[in-house]
Each structure stands twice: as structure tokens, then as C-alpha cells.
Assembly symmetry: C2
Homo-oligomer: 193 residues x 2
DNA sequence: AAAATTAGACTAACCATTTAGTTTAATTTT
DNA sequence: AAAATTAAACTAAATGGTTAGTCTAATTTT
């Protein structure tokens, strides 16, 4: 594989994540990647195709993250998955930014992605296991509770700029550790009892 | 007040909410608003200024929404505020869309807004009241629980397209009613007991 | 009369895309 | 092994559509 192509993809991810599709400039991507603009068109047909390539790449990586919980109880495993979700968002800030735009931009790109929702599915199937073996409490609409739990976690990362001030002047790591505790408490209180 | 100015602001809100700042076109706004393009520049210095005017307008309206809970207990009042939050997001889809972009776009515009967080503040002060009179349970980091609760509600609206499918083939009103029940359950389990 | 609005041509900058070519390294032919 | 050929990777510069913003002169509204 050519070095240029990889570099273009990396740089484009940053640019698209930060400025959005319409705000991104091919010229700037080329300059940042240290390649000639035409090389982008050599590897990708158009800006649109570059965008979808970037997105597919990203979501593929996201989907390949293996989450095989190792706990002995459903409770442990659920907490592990959720913690994993948190870490994933924390370590992949581009994912959140791209995801946020992607939901709005061309629905075709987004709908053709298969792996948007591994975390939802894993939490759900783990929860259903918990209901079966009596560990979890039964709720009428588990999908709604799970969306709420994932959303609560996601929201902090997607609206970091707006939210951060509520936590005062402590380090990011401290906030994450607080959020982790809260998240565990939420899982316990909402899905168990 | 001039009729044109109002119409321009309304139309711009839609355009900016749907396409984002960079994706929006002044020509299109003028056409949709049924006014001449020059009129936009008669009222607003530039696209950027139009954008900030639209945003300030929107957040001003959002802040002016009076939330004066009428319940007899802190529990009732908290639930009322949260339900109000949900209704507000449901009825003002533009708000969510603008908010989402706004967090990313020019930080100056966003940081100069005073009223981003009325809901956070009202929930927080109501909760503190509940702690004082013994209705609510004490938690180490109430700000984190409140962010999580608001986030759980917000997430559904901001990522509607990605999430909707988890609820199957039921009407939007039904989903909202399910979400309302879940939200109440969450408030009860997280802030009380 | 002053403020609001229209018509629409105009411009300058911007920006995605193309064209026409070069470089490099590997493969084939002589 | 030298010469010829190929294909892929890459580049500099041009092209042309798009778009924010302007200008002028006239008309309508308050």
C-alpha cells in the first residue's frame, strides 16, 4: 500500500472531524498531509468518496474493537462493557465528532454502516441473559433503558465543551473517574435492584 | 419591526439547523424567505453576523421559557422540570440541531451565551432543596448525576436517526411516552430512595 | 421624509476537479 | 546486463463553477 493514501486518510479524518464535511478543504488536507492535491483525486474519486472512505475506515476500526467481558456475573460483565464504551469514547474523540455529523449528513452513508451499534447489542444481550438467570430486574422497555444509559455516557463526550464547566477545576482524569462511578451506580440502580 | 428581518431570521434558523453554517447558502435563504439578497446584507453585516443573530435569538427564546414547577414535593417538581425539558426538546428540534453544531463551531459565539443551561441549574437547585429537606438521597457528585440525566434525555433527540430503529415500528408519540416513563424511573432511582 | 425593500447585474475570492505531465521502481525484452 | 516498457505514485498549474458580498437606482412602506 502507498504511504500517501494512508496519510491522506489520517489527515482527512482530523479535518472532517473538526470542521465537518462542508467546512473541510481539500487544499488544506493536501497541505497538512504533505501531498499534492491531485494525489487525493488519484486515490479517491471525489471529496464525497474520500469522506465515505474515512467514515467506513473509522467505523470498521470501531467495530473491530473486541469486547469479550471476563466477569463471572452478568452484573460484572455489564459494567465491563459500559466501562469499555466509556474508554472507547474517551480515547477516540474523532469517533464522537464524526458520528455526530454523520447522523445528519447524507443518510445513505450512515444507513449503509452495519456496525454502528455493537455496544447497544452487547449490552442488550447481556441484560437479557441477566433477566433469564434472575440477576436483573425486568423492565417493560429494556431498549429505552439501554439507550438512556449509553446516551448518558455519550452525552458527556459529545457536549464536552458545554458541560465541562459544571465539574469545576479538576483534571480530566478525575472527571472520567467520577463519571465511571456514576455510570456504575446508574447501571446498578436501573437494571438491577 | 420590519417584516423582512423576522422572515430572514426564521428562514435562516431552518437553513442553519439543517445544513450547518458552512453548508448554508445566503442565496437560498433569500429565496426561501422570499426577499432580495441585498436585504439580508441591509439587516446583517455578514453571514457570520446573521448566524450569531439567529443563535442569540434562539437561545434567548429557550431561556425565556418559564419553568415554574407547581408540585407539592421536590420529587414532583423535579419530574415536572425533566418532563418540561423533554417537551422542549421534542417541540424545538432546531434547538438540538443548532446546539450540536454550536458546541463545535466558533467557541466565542457559544461561550458568550449566558443561558445555555437553565435546565441544569433548575434541576440542581431543586435537587439541593431535596437534600436539605431529606427527600433526596445524598450523592457525592450531583452535577454528574444531573448531567447524566439530562444527557440521557437529550441523546435520544440528538441522535434520533441512529437510535430510532431500536424502538421498532411504533409511533413517535408512543416512543416519547415510553421515554417519559423511563425518565421518571431514572430520576426516582438515581436521586431518591 | 426616512426606513425598508426590490431588481439584478457584478466581482473577487474560493475551491473542487481536471489536465497534462514527471518520477520511481519494478518487469520485460533484447 | 543494458535497453525498453509498464504501471503506479505523484506533481504543478489551469479550469470553471460556486458563493459571499457589493453597487446602483428605483420603488414601496411607515
Amino acid at each position: 500500500m502507498s504511504h500517501g493514501r494512508e496519510k491522506i486518510l489520517q489527515t482527512s479524518l482530523q479535518e472532517f472531524a473538526e470542521k465537518g464535511y462542508d467546512g473541510s478543504r481539500i487544499d488544506y488536507i493536501a497541505k497538512s498531509a504533505g501531498v499534492n492535491k491531485a494525489l487525493i483525486y488519484y486515490h479517491f474519486k471525489s471529496k464525497e468518496e474520500l469522506y465515505t472512505a474515512v467514515i467506513n475506515d473509522l467505523f470498521e476500526k470501531a467495530a473491530s474493537v473486541s469486547i469479550t467481558p471476563t466477569g463471572t456475573s452478568v452484573r460484572d460483565n455489564l459494567l465491563q462493557i459500559m466501562e469499555h464504551f466509556m474508554h472507547f469514547l474517551h480515547e477516540n474523540p474523532f469517533f464522537v465528532k464524526i458520528m455526530d455529523q454523520c447522523v445528519k449528513h447524507s443518510r445513505d452513508i450512515f444507513n449503509n454502516l452495519h456496525h454502528q451499534n455493537i455496544f447497544f447489542e452487547r449490552v442488550m444481550s447481556m441484560y437479557l441473559l441477566g433477566v433469564q438467570n434472575g440477576e436483573c430486574r425486568k423492565v417493560d422497555h429494556p431498549e429505552d433503558f439501554i439507550v438512556s444509559l449509553l446516551g448518558a455516557v455519550y452525552f458527556y463526550f459529545s457536549h464536552h465543551k458545554a458541560i465541562r464547566k459544571f465539574y469545576g477545576d479538576i483534571s480530566e482524569e478525575e472527571v472520567i473517574s467520577i463519571r465511571k462511578r456514576t455510570m456504575k451506580d446508574m447501571v446498578s440502580r436501573l437494571l438491577f435492584s
